[in-house]
Amino acid sequence: MGKKQRKIGKAVRYRKAETIIRKLAKKGYSANKIQRELQKRGLGIRRKNMLKIIRKVKGVKKKPHAEKYIPRKYRARVKPLLIGKPIAVYGTVQGKSRRVVMSGTGRSLYNAMLYVSKHPPKKRFLRILADKIILFPRRYLDFDEKWDEHPKVIS
């Protein structure tokens, strides 16, 4: 039976790896070669940290838009577009168009719609969170005016 290898702690591994990286980087090894060498010795560390040390040894700065040098399949996935739920409520007041664009959860949109369907906004174009309309309806909506019955607007 072979001798059981003792597991090295992360801090020790990083310290040992750093000395090797410095030595090999000075010799002019590429990052990929250094990484392979470290893996052989059981001292694999994060590539990001390894590159940081190599850059320090070589005295170069990180390139702008570093992502474009990583093959596409290895790139970190861009988060899917964070798309809210803005809804546009529009109509006319005395022939002039008014529009409210509200965003929020379904519940807050419903509660805001109760106000907005009756009263037009004070401003002609209002982009706002639905919760704000619920909290301060009189600040944003004109309670003295009403929407026209037959609006003629372009969406």
């Binding site: 899917p80 577009l81 798309i83 739920k85 803005p86 809804i87 546009a88 409520v89 529009y90 109509g91 664009v101 379904g106 949109l109 419903y110 719609m113 109760l114 907005v116 369907s117 009403k146 929407w147 026209d148 019955e149 037959h150 609006p151 607007v153 372009i154 969406s155």
Partner: protein, 146 residues
């Protein structure tokens, strides 16, 4: 009961077009050619009233400039002043808006747009659009009841 306001979906990352005064055949050809030219995945056509159609494309766009590029291209090919007017309005607002609710008019009201044609993939922005549409229609139903 019809509300005095019009409710629509406001979107910056989805290519949506309002094609007025156009036959269904022309709308379909235009939408499919835009879909293949810009690789937009799939389309959905909604009929808002006779000869008035809405088109929604499936591929999400990260930037508004990309969306504007597509809708302007469609506007030029459509050769229709109503579409040009609509595209200019969207460029001013920096978002695309399509009606979801009914629209009150002098002679009654226009019904809510309904789906008449589907083509290609439907599981990105079209799925989101239809989900949002459903949610808005539910809200409106509750508002009318209350």
């Amino acid at each position: 009961m019809v509300l005095p306001v019009i409710v629509g979906i406001d979107e910056k990352h989805t290519v949506m077009v309002d094609l007025d005064n156009m036959s269904f055949r022309k709308v379909k050809n235009l939408a499919e050619s835009a879909c293949s030219h810009f690789k937009l995945g799939g389309i959905i056509i909604l009929k808002s009233s006779p000869n008035h159609y809405h088109v929604v494309f499936d591929k999400p766009m990260r930037y508004w400039s990309d969306v504007l590029r597509v809708i302007s291209w469609i506007g030029i090919l459509a050769d229709n002043p109503n579409v040009w007017k609509w595209v200019c309005m969207q460029a001013i607002k920096k978002t695309c808006t399509l009606r979801v609710s009914e629209k009150p008019t002098k002679n009654g009201f226009k019904p809510k747009p309904r789906i008449v044609y589907r083509y290609g993939s439907q599981n990105q922005r079209i799925k989101a659009f239809l989900g949002k549409r459903k949610e808005i229609l539910n809200i409106l139903r509750k508002v009318k009841k209350g």
